[in-house]
């Protein structure tokens, strides 16, 4: 269970981080 969970944590974190970086770039690009 722990091994399965630790894979899931990294994936969830990565997806959310990519969304955050995308929003950051979109904010600047859309107003440029």
């Amino acid at each position: 269970m722990a091994e399965k969970n630790s894979k899931g944590q990294g994936r969830t974190a990565l997806i959310v981080a990519i969304v955050a970086i995308g929003l950051y770039l979109a904010t600047i690009m859309l107003n440029g």
Binding site: A2, Q9, A13, V16, A20, L23, Y24, N31, G32
Partner: protein
């Protein structure tokens, strides 16, 4: 956790904490990091509170007594920034760190090293922000909303340090939110379903999505400020083809979700405390979850109600006005659910319950003045007056801060294994409760009469209410010395607490010993344990 992963992840897994100062620097333990967050935010609360005492001293009488107007504006700006980014937000992250793993039956946060990093960025960011006071030209003086061009063309050089501090604070918040999302979705006990989760966990999960949606936009805004100031761009400069009003749109697209970031976790806390001291299950658990999600969604589509005076088209004003009114519906659901939870309950009034009850009453006052401000034609009168100051202090002090203090008294026996002094804590509550109203209630009146915010001097007609407000604020400020004493007294001399000091409290955290062990839930709780401690059982 299996023995192989335990050995790989943590050499000292079944031991206590490291000794000495390095324990706190290197810690990856969610309880240690929660403690660090809470003490840091408390220190920032005292710093921001000291600025507030300066502001209210200046406003004690009409005329200039203590500060130059420029320095006064630095004080109001830094008061707002320190309280929002240094005190309230980190306090809730500290509570999340302490409580979420215990509430969902997880051994720790999902990404413990990143958790350490999230925290240790904060003291550096706070120091950078505060150091601007000592720079040439002084600290930023453009208000916590840092509207362009005040924060670009006309700002002091220290603004670049402010921008760096905001980037760091935002980075820390985003990492904290990622960690909470991964913890809740991936680490909760396998037998725990989403609709079994306690409301503090639900409200924080939803808050994390607000942070992920809002903080990158804030980072974008300050990045554009940085390039406008230093690299010749003109995002917000009309002479270069940019638009300063666009800054306000971007800022409030962050800023409105931000106010819900600061209140949703408090809603979660109140939803734990009221059922405990009313000795009844929470009324309308699922409607609480859906109401929280609805508030979060609506918070993204109402931002321009902060901008009714920028010359929006009438259709825009109407849309933002009606969308804002809509937030009263899910908020009303929550308030009525709390009241219905108390209905015919066997209530008692220990300190956490006193804070929770006054939260419901006073936060609702702040909510109603928010509705008044949301009415576009009325806002022409209210905008930028002390009425706005009164409104947001009712929601942020008697809302967000009240929720944090309620949580501290409620879970302190679990964290420290000791009971605080109930009699002193009640004295503290009543001093704070009365003085906060003496401080902020008269500000409604001077605001409606037309006194603008962010000025060090005012017309004679506002003198009496300002005097009352300042006296109240001094008492409120002093009440935090008593609060500090109660906390230190509890930690040093408190009587030992039992595992479940509130006999009707529900939640997996109460199944753990007090003080809680350094490592908990090595084995996830069973379905039966989860159901026995669920909020709707």
């Amino acid at each position: 956790m299996s023995s192989t992963t335990a050995a790989a992840a943590h050499d000292d897994h079944h031991h206590g904490p490291e000794k000495g100062l390095l324990r706190w620097v290197k810690t990856t333990n969610h309880k240690d990091i929660g403690t660090l967050y809470l003490w840091f935010s408390f220190a920032m609360l005292l710093v921001g509170g000291a600025f507030a005492m300066g502001i209210r001293s200046e406003l004690l009488q009409p005329g200039l007594q203590l500060f130059e107007p420029q320095f006064y504006n630095q004080l109001t700006t830094m008061h707002g920034l320190i309280m929002v980014f240094g005190a309230i937000m980190p306090a809730f992250v500290g509570l999340a760190n302490w409580l979420i793993p215990m509430m969902v039956g997880a051994p720790d946060m999902a990404l413990p090293r990143m958790n350490n990093w999230s925290f240790w960025i904060l003291p550096f960011a706070g120091t950078i922000l505060l150091s601007t006071f000592f720079m040439e030209g002084g600290a930023p003086a453009f208000g916590w909303t840092f509207y362009a061009p005040l924060s670009t063309t006309f700002a002091p050089d220290s603004t670049d340090f402010f921008i760096f501090a905001i980037h760091l604070l935002g980075f820390s918040s985003i990492m904290g939110a990622i960690n909470i999302i991964a913890t809740v979705l991936n680490m909760k006990a396998p037998e725990m379903r989403l609709m079994d989760m306690p409301l503090f966990v639900w409200t924080w999960l939803i808050t994390s999505f607000l942070l992920i949606g809002a903080m990158p936009v804030l980072a974008g805004a300050v990045t554009m400020m940085l390039t406008d100031r230093n690299f010749g761009t003109a995002f917000f400069d009309a002479t270069g083809g940019g638009d300063p009003v666009m800054f306000q749109h971007i800022f409030w697209f962050f800023g409105h979700p931000e106010v819900y970031i600061m209140i949703l976790p408090a809603f979660g806390i109140i939803s734990h405390i009221i059922p405990t001291f009313a000795r009844k299950p929470l009324f309308g658990y699922s409607s609480m979850v859906y109401a929280t999600a609805s508030i979060a969604f609506l918070s993204y589509i109402v931002w321009a109600h902060h901008m009714f005076l920028t010359g929006m088209p009438v259709a825009g004003e109407l849309y933002f006005m009606y969308a804002t009114m809509l937030i009263a519906v899910p908020t009303g659901v929550k308030v009525f659910n709390w009241v219905a939870t108390m209905w015919k309950g066997s209530m008692s009034f220990e300190t956490p319950m006193l804070w929770a009850l006054s939260f419901v009453f006073l936060f609702t006052i702040g909510g109603f003045s928010g509705l008044m401000l949301g009415i576009a034609p009325a806002d022409i009168q209210y905008h930028d007056t002390y009425f706005v100051v009164a409104h947001f202090h009712y929601v942020l002090v008697t809302g967000a801060l009240w929720g944090i203090i309620a949580a501290v008294f409620y879970w302190l026996p679990k964290w420290t294994g000791k009971m605080y002094n109930e009699r002193l804590a009640k004295v503290h509550f009543w001093i704070a409760m009365i003085s906060v109203n003496v401080t902020f209630f008269p500000q409604h009146f001077i605001g409606l009469a037309g006194m603008p915010r962010r000025i060090p001097d005012y017309a004679l007609q506002f003198a009496d209410f300002n005097f009352i407000s300042s006296i109240g604020s001094f008492a409120f400020g002093l009440s935090f010395l008593l609060f500090t004493y109660i906390l230190v007294d509890c930690i040093r001399n408190g009587k030992p607490a039992v595992a479940r000091p509130w006999e009707s409290a529900k939640g997996l955290e109460w199944t753990l010993a007090a003080p809680v062990a350094y490592h908990t839930f090595d084995e996830p709780p069973t379905r039966a344990e989860i159901l026995a401690e669920s909020q709707h059982s």
